[in-house]
C-alpha cells in the first residue's frame, strides 16, 4: 500500500512542488493534532506561495485562523 508519506517522498524526489502543495494539505487534513496540522499546512502554504498557486490564500487563512501567521 502506498502511504501518504511514500507519496510525499516521491513528490520531493521529483521536485514536484505543485504536487507537494496538495500532499502537504492532505497531511494537514489527516494530522492527529493541531500542531502537526499547522506544521504540514505551513509546508503547503510555502510551496503554494512559491508557485503562486490558487490555494495560497485558503492555506494562509487556515494558518491565520490558528494564529500561526
Amino acid at each position: 500500500m502506498i502511504t501518504l508519506d511514500d507519496r510525499l517522498l516521491d513528490a520531493h524526489a521529483r521536485d514536484d512542488r505543485t504536487g507537494l502543495i496538495a500532499l502537504y494539505a492532505e497531511a494537514a487534513d489527516t494530522a492527529q493534532d493541531i500542531d502537526a496540522a499547522c506544521f504540514y499546512l505551513t509546508h503547503a502554504y510555502v510551496f503554494a506561495l512559491e508557485k503562486d498557486d490558487p490555494a495560497t490564500e485558503v492555506l494562509y487563512q487556515r494558518l491565520k485562523a490558528e494564529g500561526r501567521v
Binding site: A36, H43, A48, E50, D52, T56, L63, R68
Partner: protein
C-alpha cells in the same frame, strides 16, 4: 591609500595630456590596488552590471556576481528591473543559484523564508517553532531583501554599490544630452546578438583601447578602405566621458541590399556618423543609425576581465541572417583587440615602466579616462 603608491605618481597622471603619464603599473598588476579601485572607482560610481534583456519578462531572475558580491537581477510584478543582494536575510544563504522564472515568491532553499519580487519578506516558516510562522523578535517589515541602487539607461543596468554617487541623470547629464536622439526604444537582437569574450587583462585596458581611434589602422586594417584615421574624431569631456566618433559609418547590407531599419527621427549627422563612448567606469557604448551596442566590462581580478557584448536594433524583428552577419563582424573586430589589451597587461610587469605617455593629438580620450580614475582615487583617499 594602498601601500607603495605615493600620491605623486597619480599627480603625474593628472597633468595635461602633453606631459601626463599613464597610471602606474600597480593599477594593473597589484591585487591590493585592484581592491582599492573596487571601492574608489567601481563601487562609488554608476558601474555597468548587465542589460535589461538579461531579465526580459516579469518574474525573470538571474544571479550575477559583481566584484565578488552576489547580486540578483529581478523583473518584478510591475515590470520594473531591480537589483538585490542575492542573499536571504536569515543566514545569508544564496537565494537563486541559476537563472529562472519566479512564479510566486522567491523561496530560500535553506529554511524557506519567502520574498516577493519587490523584495518584501512575506513568510518565515517555523521561525517560532514547528508550525509557528512568526516570532515577536522577527519583524518581517525590516528584513526584506537588500536592494542595490540601480538605474536603467540605454538598456543597461547600472548600479551604485556604496550608495554615494549623485543621481545617474546628474552624473551623466552631458552624455544623456549628447545622445538624446537615441533615447528611444531599442530591441536586443536575441541570442545571436550577444557574446562574451574572456580577456587576460585589467578591465581598464579594455576601456583605454576602446576610447581611441589611433590604433584602428594597425589593429583593424579592414577599416582602412572606408574609415580612415582622418575620418575619426576624438570625444573628450574631462571628468565625464570620452571616446571617438566616425564620419563614415557604412550600413551593413545583406542579400538583395537589405539593411537594418533606422532608429526614428535621427538628425542628418547620423546618416554616416557613429560614436563610441565609454560610460565611466566600465560600459562601452556604440551608436549608429541602425544599431547600437553595449559592452559591459566585468572586472574579475587585476588581470582578468569578461566583455559582455550585446547588440540592439530599432525594431523588434530584424533580418536573422543580417543580424548574425553583424554579430560576427563585431565579434571579429573586438577579437582583433584582444592581443593588444593582453599585451599591454603583460607589459605592465616591466619594472619601472612610467605608465607611458599620450599622443596629444590621438590619445586625449585615453588620457581623459586615466585622469578620471586618478581623480576618483584621490577623492576616495580624501574621505578615508
Amino acid at each position: 591609500m594602498a601601500k607603495d603608491i605615493p600620491m605623486d605618481t597619480l599627480d603625474a597622471v593628472r597633468q595635461p595630456v602633453e606631459t601626463a603619464h599613464g597610471l602606474p603599473n600597480a593599477h594593473y598588476t597589484d591585487p591590493e590596488v585592484f581592491d582599492l579601485e573596487k571601492h574608489a572607482v567601481l563601487s562609488s560610481s554608476w558601474a555597468g552590471l548587465a542589460v535589461t534583456a538579461d531579465v526580459p519578462e516579469v518574474g525573470d531572475a538571474k544571479p550575477v556576481e559583481f566584484l565578488g558580491i552576489p547580486l540578483l537581477l529581478v523583473r518584478d510584478r510591475q515590470g520594473q528591473v531591480r537589483v538585490f543582494q542575492n542573499i536571504c536575510r536569515h543566514r545569508g544563504m544564496i537565494l537563486v543559484a541559476e537563472p529562472r522564472k519566479i512564479e510566486g515568491a522567491i523561496r530560500c532553499p535553506y529554511h524557506s523564508w519567502c520574498y516577493s519580487t519587490e523584495g518584501n519578506l512575506v513568510s518565515t516558516p517555523h521561525v517560532g517553532g514547528a508550525g509557528h510562522n512568526t516570532h515577536e523578535a522577527i519583524d518581517k517589515s525590516v528584513l526584506g531583501l537588500v536592494e542595490v541602487r540601480s538605474h536603467i539607461w540605454f538598456s543597461t543596468i547600472f548600479i551604485n554599490i556604496d550608495g554615494t554617487a549623485a543621481p545617474f541623470e546628474e552624473v551623466h547629464a552631458d552624455l544623456l544630452a549628447r545622445w538624446a536622439e537615441f533615447d528611444q526604444p531599442m530591441y536586443h537582437g536575441g541570442i545571436d546578438s550577444s557574446f562574451t569574450l574572456d580577456v587576460a587583462t585589467n578591465w581598464k585596458l579594455a576601456v583605454e583601447n576602446y576610447c581611441e581611434s589611433y590604433h584602428l589602422p594597425w589593429v583593424h586594417p579592414g577599416l582602412n578602405s572606408y574609415s580612415r584615421l582622418e575620418d575619426h574624431y576624438n570625444i573628450i569631456e574631462m571628468g565625464r566621458y570620452s571616446g571617438q566618433g566616425t564620419l563614415v559609418y557604412r550600413q551593413l547590407t545583406g542579400m538583395d541590399g537589405i539593411t537594418f531599419p533606422d532608429f526614428a527621427d535621427l538628425s542628418a549627422q547620423w546618416d554616416t556618423g557613429g560614436e563610441y563612448i565609454t560610460v565611466y567606469p566600465n560600459v562601452l557604448l556604440g551608436v549608429q543609425r541602425d544599431h547600437a551596442f553595449v559592452i559591459v566590462l566585468e572586472p574579475q581580478s587585476h588581470n582578468k576581465s569578461v566583455e559582455h557584448v550585446h547588440l540592439f536594433y530599432a525594431a523588434e524583428k530584424t533580418d536573422e541572417a543580417l543580424r548574425q552577419k553583424n554579430a560576427i563582424q563585431w565579434k571579429s573586430v573586438f577579437e582583433e583587440d584582444i592581443f593588444v589589451v593582453e599585451g599591454m597587461q603583460k607589459g605592465r610587469a616591466a619594472p619601472g615602466f612610467d605608465g607611458g605617455r599620450f599622443s596629444p593629438a590621438m590619445d586625449g580620450p585615453t588620457h581623459c579616462f586615466h585622469d578620471w580614475v586618478a581623480g576618483k582615487i584621490a577623492a576616495y583617499d580624501t574621505v578615508q
